[in-house]
Amino acid sequence: MNAADPNGALIVAVILFSLGALGVLVRRNLLFMLMSTEVMLNAACLAFIAAGNRWHLADGQVMFIMIVAFAAAESAVGLAIILRMHAAGRATLDADTGNRLGG
C-alpha cells in the first residue's frame, strides 16, 4: 500500500490515537502523560493529512499546522506548570500521589 492511501493512513492514525490514550491512562509520570496527549494530537494530524490528500484539499495541511502549533503551546504551558508546581513544593512528577484536590 502506498503512504498516501487514505484508509491505511486512517487506520494507522486510529492505532496511534489509541496508543496515546492508553499512554495517558497507564503512565503515572506527568511528563509522559503530557507526551501521550501529544501523540494523540499527532494522530489527528496524520488523519488530517491523509484526508487532505484524499480530497486534494489544502485544508488538511492547514489543520496540521494549527494542531502542531497548538500542541507546541500546550506542551510549553504544561512544562511551565510542572516547573511551577515543582517550585511551589510538589516533589514528585507522579500523577497519583500528592493530590490535594478532590473528594
Binding site: 490514550a21 495517558v24 491512562l25 503515572r28 502523560m33 500523577a95 497519583d96 493530590n99 490535594r100 484536590l101 478532590g102 473528594g103
Partner: protein
C-alpha cells in the same frame, strides 16, 4: 306537601311562646357562660330558678292555649328560619307542637324545673356552681329543641347538644381522672349511635328529599320498603345508643360519676328518653318496618333482663338506680317494638316522675352521709331521715309497680298487656323483669333504711330539696291515675290526649293478666324482705365470680375493651410515627447514598478522570455502532 299550616314566628300566642320556651334556659346558660362564674351563688341560683320557672310557665301556657286552640288535634308549625338550602335539599329551623311533643315538652320543662330547683340547693356550696348551671340550663334548652324541632336535622342539633352537655356534666368534677374518662366514654359511645342516626337521616333525606318530620311521615311510606327498613334500623341504632340499650348500654353506669342532680335530670328523666321519643315521633314509618320493630322489641326485652340482673347485685346506690333506668327504658323499647306507643309514652312520663324522685332521694342521702354511695355502708337511715325515706319508698314502690297505688303499676301493666298481644314470651320476660325489679329495689330499700346504723347522717335537707321531692312523690303516686285499665276504672285521659297523634288505644285484655301483673311485684317485695330483712349481723354483698361478672354489666365493658379499645390504641401507638413518613425518609436516605457514591468518583486522580472520559467515549461508540 305538609298538611300542617306553617305559622311564622309571632303571629299567635303559642307561636310566640314556643321559641321562648327554648330561649329562656338558653339565655340563662349564655349569661352564666359570659359572666364566667363571677356571679355570686345566690344570684346564680335565683337566675336559674327564674329562667327555668319562666320556661316551665311558658310551656304550660302554650300547652294550654294549644289544647284549647283551633288546631289542637293537628300540629302547630313555627318556622324560625331556613337553615340550609342546597339544590333540592332544604333544612329549616322550625318548631312544631303537636300533642306528642306537647307531653314531652311539659315533662322536660316541669320535671327539669323541679330538678334544677333541687340542684340549686344540692350544689349551693360548690365553687363551680355557675359552670354547673350553665351546662344544666344548656342541657334543658337542647333537650327542648330536640323535643320541639320539626326537622330531623334540627332534632339532631338538640340530640348532639344533649350529648355534649351530658359529657360536660358527667365530667363536671374533672379533678378526678375517672370522671373525665367516664365522660369521654359516655360521649364516644353515644356518638356511635349518633353516626348511625346521621346515616339514617342521609338515607331518609335522599329517599324523601326532606328531613321535615311531617313530610317524612307523609311521603316516607311511598319510599321503597328496603330503604325504609334500613333507615329505620339506623335510626333505631341511634336511639338505642342514647337510651343505653344493649349492646350500647355500657356508658350509663359510668355516667353516674356526675353530681346526683345530673343523674336525675339526664340519666333518668330526659336525655335517655330521647330515643323513645324519636321512635314514637316516627311511629308512622316505624309501623311499616316490622323487622325494625321486632328488633326494637327484642332489644328492649334483652335489656330489661340484663339490666335488672346486674341491678340485683350492685352495691352502689346510684348504680342500682342506673341499671334500673336501663331496664325501665327496656320496657319502653319493648312497648315501641310491640307498637304500643301510648304505653311507651305513658311509661316514659311516669318513669320520669319516679326515677327523678328516686335520684333526688338518693342524692339527699348521699349528701347527708358524706358522699357515701355504698349501700352496705349505710343502714337504719329510716329514723334519721324519715321524709327522705318516705320519698325513696314511694319512688321504689312506683318503680316496682306495686299495684293500684303507684304510677309505675299502670304504665307497666299497659306495656305488659301489649307485649302479650305480640308474643307471650315477651310478656313472660317482662313480667320476670318486673319481678326482679321489685326484688332489687327493695333490697336497696331494706339495706339502706332498715337494720342498725353503719354510718350516721347529719344535717337535714332544706326546703328547696324537700319541695321538689314532695311534688314528685305526689306525681309518682297520682301520675298513674290519668290512665287506667277499664277493669279498675275507665280513665283514659292520657291516651285520649295522645290518640290524635298516636292513633287509638288498642282494646283491653282480660283481667287475668292484670292480676298476675299485680301479684308479681308483691311477691318480689316479700322475697326481698326474706333475704335482706334486718338481722343482727350486718348484711354483706354476696361475692362470687359470676356475681362479679354480673355486677360488671355482664362483662360487656371488658369485652368491648378487649375487642375494640385496646387493639385500636395499641396499633395506634405502634404506628404513632406514621410508616408513610418513614417511607419518605427512606427515599431521602437513598438520595444521600447515591450522592455519596457519585461524589466518590471524584477521587482527585487525574488518570481515573481520563479513564472515565475514555470509558464514556467507548460506551458512546459501542452505542453508536
Amino acid at each position: 306537601m305538609t298538611p300542617i299550616p306553617a305559622i311564622v314566628w309571632g303571629v299567635s300566642l303559642v307561636a310566640t311562646l314556643l321559641p321562648l320556651v327554648i330561649a329562656c334556659p338558653l339565655f340563662v346558660s349564655i349569661i352564666l357562660m359570659l359572666t364566667g362564674g363571677k356571679l355570686p351563688a345566690r344570684a346564680t341560683t335565683l337566675l336559674v330558678g327564674a329562667g327555668m320557672g319562666l320556661c316551665a310557665l311558658f310551656a304550660v301556657i302554650s300547652a294550654y292555649s294549644f289544647l284549647t286552640g283551633p288546631d289542637s288535634l293537628g300540629a302547630l308549625h313555627v318556622v324560625l328560619w331556613n337553615w340550609m338550602q342546597v339544590g333540592n335539599f332544604t333544612a329549616q329551623i322550625a318548631l312544631s307542637l303537636d300533642r306528642l311533643s306537647l307531653v314531652m315538652m311539659l315533662v322536660v320543662s316541669c320535671v327539669g324545673f323541679l330538678i334544677l330547683v333541687y340542684a340549686c340547693a344540692y350544689m349551693y356550696d360548690d365553687p363551680d356552681i355557675a359552670r354547673f348551671f350553665a351546662y344544666m340550663t344548656l342541657f334543658v334548652a337542647s333537650m327542648l329543641l330536640l323535643v320541639l324541632a320539626s326537622d330531623l336535622l334540627a332534632v339532631f342539633v338538640g340530640w348532639e347538644g344533649v350529648g355534649l352537655c351530658s359529657y360536660l356534666l358527667i365530667g363536671f368534677w374533672y379533678g378526678e381522672q375517672a370522671n373525665a374518662v367516664a365522660a369521654r366514654k359516655a360521649f364516644v359511645v353515644t356518638r356511635v349511635g349518633d353516626a348511625l342516626f346521621l346515616l339514617g337521616m342521609l338515607l331518609m333525606a335522599t329517599a324523601v328529599g326532606s328531613l321535615d318530620i311531617p313530610t317524612l311521615l307523609a311521603v316516607g311510606p311511598h319510599a321503597p320498603s328496603t330503604t325504609l327498613t334500613l333507615g329505620m334500623f339506623l335510626l333505631l341504632g341511634g336511639a338505642m345508643a342514647k337510651s343505653a340499650q344493649v349492646p350500647l348500654q355500657t356508658w350509663l353506669p359510668d355516667a353516674m360519676a356526675g353530681p346526683t342532680p345530673v343523674s336525675a335530670l339526664i340519666h333518668a328523666a330526659t336525655m335517655v328518653t330521647a330515643g323513645v321519643y324519636l321512635l314514637a315521633r316516627l311511629h308512622g314509618l316505624f309501623v311499616l318496618t316490622p323487622a325494625a320493630m321486632l328488633a326494637c322489641a327484642v332489644v328492649g326485652f334483652v335489656t330489661i333482663l340484663l339490666a335488672a340482673g346486674s341491678a340485683l347485685v350492685q352495691t352502689d346506690i346510684k348504680r342500682i338506680l342506673a341499671y334500673s333506668t336501663m331496664s325501665q327504658l327496656g320496657y319502653m323499647y319493648l312497648a315501641l317494638g310491640c307498637g304500643a306507643w301510648h304505653a311507651a309514652m305513658f311509661h316514659l312520663v311516669t318513669h320520669a316522675f319516679f326515677k327523678a324522685l328516686l335520684f333526688m332521694a338518693a342524692g339527699s342521702i348521699i349528701l347527708r352521709v358524706h358522699h357515701e354511695q355504698d349501700i352496705f355502708k349505710m343502714g337504719g337511715l329510716r329514723k334519721d331521715m324519715p321524709w327522705v325515706f318516705t320519698a325513696f319508698l314511694i319512688g321504689s314502690a312506683a318503680l316496682a309497680g306495686l299495684p293500684l297505688i303507684t304510677a309505675g303499676y299502670f304504665s307497666k301493666e299497659l306495656i305488659l298487656g301489649s307485649a302479650y298481644e305480640v308474643s307471650p314470651i315477651f310478656w313472660a320476660g317482662a313480667l320476670f323483669g318486673a319481678f326482679l325489679t321489685s326484688i332489687y329495689i327493695f333490697r336497696c330499700v331494706f339495706i339502706v333504711f332498715w337494720g342498725g346504723h353503719r354510718t350516721h347522717a347529719h344535717g337535714r335537707s332544706g326546703m328547696a330539696m324537700a319541695l321538689p321531692m314532695a311534688i314528685l312523690s305526689v306525681l309518682a303516686i297520682a301520675g298513674g291515675w290519668m290512665e287506667m285499665p277499664d277493669a279498675i276504672a275507665n280513665v283514659h285521659i292520657f291516651s285520649n290526649l295522645l290518640s290524635p297523634v298516636l292513633g287509638a288505644l288498642p282494646q283491653e285484655h282480660g283481667t287475668s293478666l292484670l292480676i298476675v301483673g299485680s301479684l308479681v311485684p308483691i311477691a318480689g317485695v316479700t322475697i326481698a324482705w326474706t333475704l335482706w330483712r334486718p338481722r343482727d349481723v350486718a348484711p354483706t354483698p354476696a361475692e362470687s365470680p359470676a356475681i362479679a361478672t354480673l355486677r360488671a354489666d355482664w362483662g360487656f365493658d371488658t369485652l368491648y375493651d378487649r375487642i375494640f379499645v385496646r387493639p385500636f390504641m395499641v396499633l395506634a401507638h405502634l404506628n404513632r410515627r406514621d410508616f408513610i413518613d418513614r417511607f419518605y425518609d427512606l427515599i431521602a436516605a437513598l438520595t444521600q447514598g447515591s450522592g455519596q457514591a457519585i461524589a466518590r468518583l471524584q477521587s482527585g486522580q487525574v488518570r481515573r478522570y481520563a479513564g472515565w472520559i475514555a470509558a464514556g467515549t467507548v460506551a458512546a461508540l459501542c452505542l453508536a455502532v
